[in-house]
Structures are given as C-alpha cells and as structure tokens.
Symmetry: C2
Subunit: 494 residues, 2 copies
Amino acid sequence: MFESAELGHRIDKTTYDTEVPRLREALLDAQFELAQQAKFPVIILIGGVDGAGKGETVNLLNEWMDPRHIEAHAMGEPSDEERERPRMWRFWRALPPKGKIGIFFGSWYTQPIVQHVLGNIKTSQLNQSIDRINRFEKMLTDEGALILKFWFHLSKDVQKKRLKTLEKDPKTRWRVTDTDWERFKLYDKFRKVSEHALRETSTAEAPWLVVEGTDFRYRSLTVGKILLDAIRKRLDSPAKAAPLKVAPLQAPIDQLDVLDVLNMSQKLSKKLYEAELEKYQGKLNLLTRDPKFCKMSVIALFEGSDAGGKGGAIRRITAALDARYYRIIPVAAPTEEERAQPYLWRFWRHIPRTGRVTIFDRSWYGRVLVERVEKFCSEADWMRAYSEINDFEEQLVDNNTVLVKFWLAITKEEQLRRFQEREKIGFKRFKITEEDWRNREKWDDYEHAVCDMVDRTSTEIAPWTLVEANDKYFARIKILKTLCQRIEAAMKQK
Amino acid sequence: MFESAELGHRIDKTTYDTEVPRLREALLDAQFELAQQAKFPVIILIGGVDGAGKGETVNLLNEWMDPRHIEAHAMGEPSDEERERPRMWRFWRALPPKGKIGIFFGSWYTQPIVQHVLGNIKTSQLNQSIDRINRFEKMLTDEGALILKFWFHLSKDVQKKRLKTLEKDPKTRWRVTDTDWERFKLYDKFRKVSEHALRETSTAEAPWLVVEGTDFRYRSLTVGKILLDAIRKRLDSPAKAAPLKVAPLQAPIDQLDVLDVLNMSQKLSKKLYEAELEKYQGKLNLLTRDPKFCKMSVIALFEGSDAGGKGGAIRRITAALDARYYRIIPVAAPTEEERAQPYLWRFWRHIPRTGRVTIFDRSWYGRVLVERVEKFCSEADWMRAYSEINDFEEQLVDNNTVLVKFWLAITKEEQLRRFQEREKIGFKRFKITEEDWRNREKWDDYEHAVCDMVDRTSTEIAPWTLVEANDKYFARIKILKTLCQRIEAAMKQK
C-alpha cells in the first residue's frame, strides 16, 4: 500500500505558487457552501509516520480555509471523565456537527495500532478493533458524514533523515521526543501493522488516502486537492449515491410471536407486592452501595406500550437509589444540536460515569419503533439501526455497564381501560393526549415492530426482558428482581 | 439564625399522612406546568449539618415529584476537566434548563465554608467568596431562575445523638464516616461560619430557608410546602416582580470619546509588516510552547465594526499556533439548548482547559453592543450585563487565564470602501449582507455603545485594547504584539 508513497514525489515551487491561490479560493467557497447548507459534516483523520508532516498539514488546512468552521482535536491522554466511559465516547463528543469540518489528529486507529505494535494486544484483538472501526465508519457515512482518512508516509531512510534534521535545528529540536526514536526502532513492525489496518479499513465509503510526506509542497497540494474534490462532489450531488438495498425481514406466517406467548394474566396480591417491593428495593440499594459498584455502571432502559406503566416502574427503582447518583433521561424530540449529529449522538452524551445509574425513559429503540411505524425515517435508516444499536450496546457492556432493557407489554383491552381512567383522574389527565389515541390505531404495526426489535437486538450481552404489565404489581416486582439479578451477576464476574 | 430550628419541631403521623397526598398531587401539577411553560428553571440548594436529613430530602423530592424532570447533582471531588477551569464551571455545566428542577447537594457554598472552618482560607477570602456568590445568584434570579436554598440544622446535642444512632444500626452504619466525626469536633466553628455565610447571602431574591432536621416528618413537609408555594407563585404571576430600575448612564456632552482620540491614520508599510509579522508570530509560537504555558490558558476575543478585519487578524494569530491546541468560537445566534440557560452559559461551555487558546469571534459583549442597539434585550438586561461580565472575567483571570479583548475600530469612510470592495470580489461576496448595510445606518448608536462598553468593562485585569484598524497591517501587528506582551507579563508573574 505504501509503494506509491515512496517514489520521491515532488512539486516545484512555481507550480505550487500558481496552484495554491486558486485552490484556496475554491476551498473557501466550498467551505462556505458546506456551512450554509449544513447538511453533512466533514471528518478528516490524520494518521501516519512521525515526522511526515501531520501537524503541519493540520495547521495548513486551518490557514487555507476559514478556521472558524474547523475543529481540530488532538487526541492525547484521555481525561478521567473519558476514561470512565467506553473508548469511543471521547470521539463521539468531539464529532463535528453538520456544516463543520472536524480534524482528528490521532483517531480511533491510534490506540489499536500502537498497542499491537507494542505487543499489548493480540492480533485477534486488533482485528476485532478493526471490525468495530469499519462498522463505526459505516454508520457515520450512512448518516451522511464525509470521511477523509489521510495517512502520511515516509520510508524508513527518509524518516530517519527527517528526525535527524529536525533534531539538528534548535528551532525544531523540541519536536523530536524520545518517544519518536523509540517508535522509529519499531518502524518495520509499525509499517506492517499499519498496512494491515489500512487495508482492512479502506472501504468504498471511506478509503485511506496514503500521501508521501517527504516534500511539503507535494503533500500539501495533494491533501488540499483531495479535500476540495471530495467536498465539491458531495455538495454538487447531495443525493446519496445509491439508495440502500434493504432485504425484507421475515414476515410472520402464523400468529405466534414473542408477545403472544406471554402469560398476561400473571398477578401479585397487594400484600405480596409490598413484601417483595421492600425486599428488592432493599437489595438494589445494597447492591449500589457495594464497593464493587464503583467500577461499574448501570443503564436501564424502558420501552413499552403507551400507558404500560413505565413511569411507575421507574419510580419504584429510583426510590431505592440515592438521588445523587442516578439520572433519568426522558427521551423526547431531539434538540437542534442533536439533530446536527448522527442518530445515536444524543444517547452517547448521557452515558454515565462509573458508579452511576442512568435510566432511559424511552431510548434509542425509538428508531425501530415509533420512527419506523410512523415513517419518520426511511426503511434503510431503521433497518441499519438494528446493527448500529447492537454495536453501541456491545461497547457499553465492554465498559462494565450493566445494560438492562425492559419492554412493558399490556393487552389492547388493558390499554383502553387505562386511557379511559387517565382521562377521568385530575392529576393524570396530562398523561393522555390525542397522539396516544392515534398510536393506538396502529397497535398491530407497533406489535410487529416490537417483535422484530426483540428478534434482532435481544443479545446475550444485552437481552430484552419482556414484562407482562397488565398487573402493575407483578410488573414492578419483575423489573426490580431482574435489575438486581443482572447487577449481581455482573458483580460476581469481577 | 438557627434559634427557630432548635425548638424541637415535630409533626404527628396523622397530620403528615393527611397532608402528604394533597401536597404530592399539587407538587406534581406544579411540576407539570413548570415543564410545559419551560419559562424558568428551579434551582434547589441543599446544605447544612451532617445527619440533618439532606440526602433523605433529595430522595424524597424525587419520590414525590416526577423524577424525569429533576436533575440531582452531588458535587464531590471535581474531575480533572473541572479542576482546569474556574471553580464555578462545574456548576454552570450542571445548571438546569428552563422547565427543569436542578438539585445541588453540596453547592457553591460548600468549598468556602469548609475551607474557612478548616483554617485554609482567611476571613477576607471567605467574604470575597460570599460577595461573588451574591452576585452569581443575583444574576441567576435576574435571568429568571427560581432559587431555593435550604439549610438543614441540628443543635450540637442532637447531631451527636443522631450520628451515634446511625452508627449503632448496622443498616445505616455506612453513612457515618470518620470525616463526619472530624467535622463534628468543629461544630461550633462550623456553626459560626455558616451563620455568617447564611446571613450575608440571605437576599430578597434568594433567602436561606433554615429547616430543623430532627424530625423527618417536620422537615419533609416544610420543604415540600415551601417548594410548592414558591413554584406556584412564580407560575401564577409570571411577570417579574418589579421592573428593574435603571439609572441612566452618562450621556456624552461633548464630541470627545475613547474612539475619537484614536489616531486612525497609523499605517505600516508592507515590508515592515512582513518583518514584524514574522517576528511576533515566532514569538507567540515560542510562548505557547513554553513549559509554563501548561499552567495557564488564553482567551482572546474580537469585537469590532463590520468589515473591521476580525477574521484576517484571527488568521494571523492562528497561523502561529498549533491547530491542535486552539479553538475558534464564532458567536452567532444561540441554539435552542443555549436559549434555555442564562445568557453567559453559552460562553462558559467553551472555556478552555489549561494549555489551550480559545479565540472568540464576537463574544459575550454582544449583549451590550448589538443586543442593546437593536433592542433584542431589555435595557435592564444589558445594563446588568456590564457587572455580570466583569464578574465572569474576574473568574477567568483568577483561574490563570490571560484574557485579551480587542476592539477593531475603522472609520465610517473606510467601512464604506470595504463594503463596496467586498461586493465586487468573488470569494468575499458572502462576507457582505443586507444586515451589514442596515447596521451601518446605526453607526452612531453603535459608537455610543462601544464607548459605554469600554468605560464599564475595561478593567485592570482585563483591559480593552482599541485597535486602529483602518490599516490592516498596522492592526494585525498591534494585535499580535499585545497578545505576546500580555502572555509574557502573565508568565513573569509565575
């Protein structure tokens, strides 16, 4: 992959001086249109060999374009707030919104490549990281992002010369650190691993662009032209290249589905409920005060039919928790800042630190439930959401998050009863709206969506718990009990 | 102040059981209206003696109301991201948006009171903190926030008994730490200092509400009723109590003002400009790479007439910086999330960590410039902004931020020339809009606002630099030079 980048590409000064002014003007124009349209973000990754001009290129891009619409991120040591969350959290929080350019100096590639070169992770782990990166970048491009991945290359001899030259000049000496020389000793290994990673992640949507880093005029002009060309193309043909082809999901051919087999007549007496409530609330309280809990976190999410009893169930959980360490995120329409980001961004921003509990009242599953049924997004969008969600949840679980997902199921008759009751009772009247009645008409569509959701996202690491919720007492105890069991099981694995 | 809270207040079970259901329903109703209107946030501070029921009260409020619209914050040890910013940053980032309730367990009072009791800060420093708190809370209430400050009190004997009781029961033993007993030894001093702090911060807008903590029914009912009453009152009389009385600023009685005395004919030849540019960009680059720079940060803000040359000046600064460590914040209309917060919130969120440079292209001064002139806010709002801004900047400077403020002044004739030029040149055409022409008609109003701004916010710690910008070369060098001088001066103080 690096052969073309070792040929000694050079651009002479005259050509450079003629081309740059035109290029800059065109880049500024493109950038202005990008900001005006605000339809997609541009994500630029800068990777490669030390001394190959990575930093200079970032600075040059800022100089050539309007730096007010560029956000450059140096991904050095993570902060403590970052370390307590999944590895990708720091990248999610730094993603540029639509209309902006984000430059990542050091990206999601750095850690896996460097760790493998240093022998800290095995090939299988590297490959797993690569696989995840591909899925992540696929998600970004599906969401409309334009991704440009530049890899700055130097041959071994040239790198050595370059580091020595920098070291000789008192003005640039500071730029060569011991780490650079340490890394240079590993040049061959670094090259091999990088090539592997680049090959495996050079996809049609986000190919790697290897640039020879020796000559500053060559590399600058190359990067500038590629960038201009890519932004221009996307601006001029805003429609997504080809509509995603979606294979049909299994259509049900009988009446048997995961909801039908629930025994909806399960009940609990008030007396038993009160005893069990005390028992499991006490248990939950103890669990969250266990010293081991400081190393983990809990995310509980609630989906369910309207009037399924989510709010009441959530309150029975929070009553057992210390209000200082939990947060409830009621999920409603996304804000303007959230709409400028990929779909999952608004959930990533609420991922808890360790030792905390976050409860989502409705969640990222809105995509495959209400958004699917009400056609708020395209079929392709909700179809790809299943695997995006699975990827997301895998990262949470890898980060010691106990993820517990509840679907509160009630029968159509029970819903009617509750709607009518709500309309009668004063302080519950705000809980019933026109929309609830409208949704009810689509009962079967929702049921179908729920079954697909369970089939596709109930995984070993993050299973769905279907809760028979016609009886509130039964439902609440099942929820508390499940939550306790899941936390306990996770603690035992420590 | 604590006398009434040592009388042994008690509420019997019957009264409590009768009152609570009604109270809860009314609280839920009020909370629902609060969320629907989304016109003001409710900020609840919970302070007081250990063992007086602070934690229980936070939990109870979450139980009584809809916890989905409450955000409780335990302000323990700050994270590294928090430690690198002004002390109040962590509170700003946790402020509830309009329509929500934010509960602070441990607030901006904790640190000054505890540090003074422990003998780490002097009375004068405590008083300075108190003064700042008053100004901060005044700002919050002026912005419409409803602030409720609860102080839970126990007499010395009762606290001792309470801690012992908690310690005896194996279920509650964990709640009594060594720190609690250490603190108990300092009861008298703690009481004295708290009383002083409470007295000095019990204002008409945000009085302290001292609650006897002995009897849980008494303290719960008291807090619930006060909260209901306060929210209800604000919902029912949404108009601000009395319109702020605004004293007139000095009207100019001659033609001499800070802008008039500028020598606008100052120029620099291209040759001299290029030499100076190289010199000061080199110097700036060296300064930001100085090891001392890791302990400080820089905020440079640019205001100026339209077409004053802000963008060009900013680019000459950033060209000298490493793109990974600076950020430019172009200030435009606030987003939806920003509009739900106090005015300064959207600037606080961009305060840099140490070792970083943040450049604001337009800034918080919009309030006393465009918003004043165009009447986007009330006279009272921009009048109070002067001191709010001074308070804000004082906190930045206290946190080792070098704050450099530039006003780029051009003459009316020069502006006309630049506007006309922009309309002609292709890639500059987007820089000139109808609005620019409209603003130009209010030239005198803007000039007046600028002079008031300089008079009121050019302080010893954060002076304004007025830049004669008719000649771009002269302006850019003056800016670079000033920036270098200010950073150098700050470094020498280390």
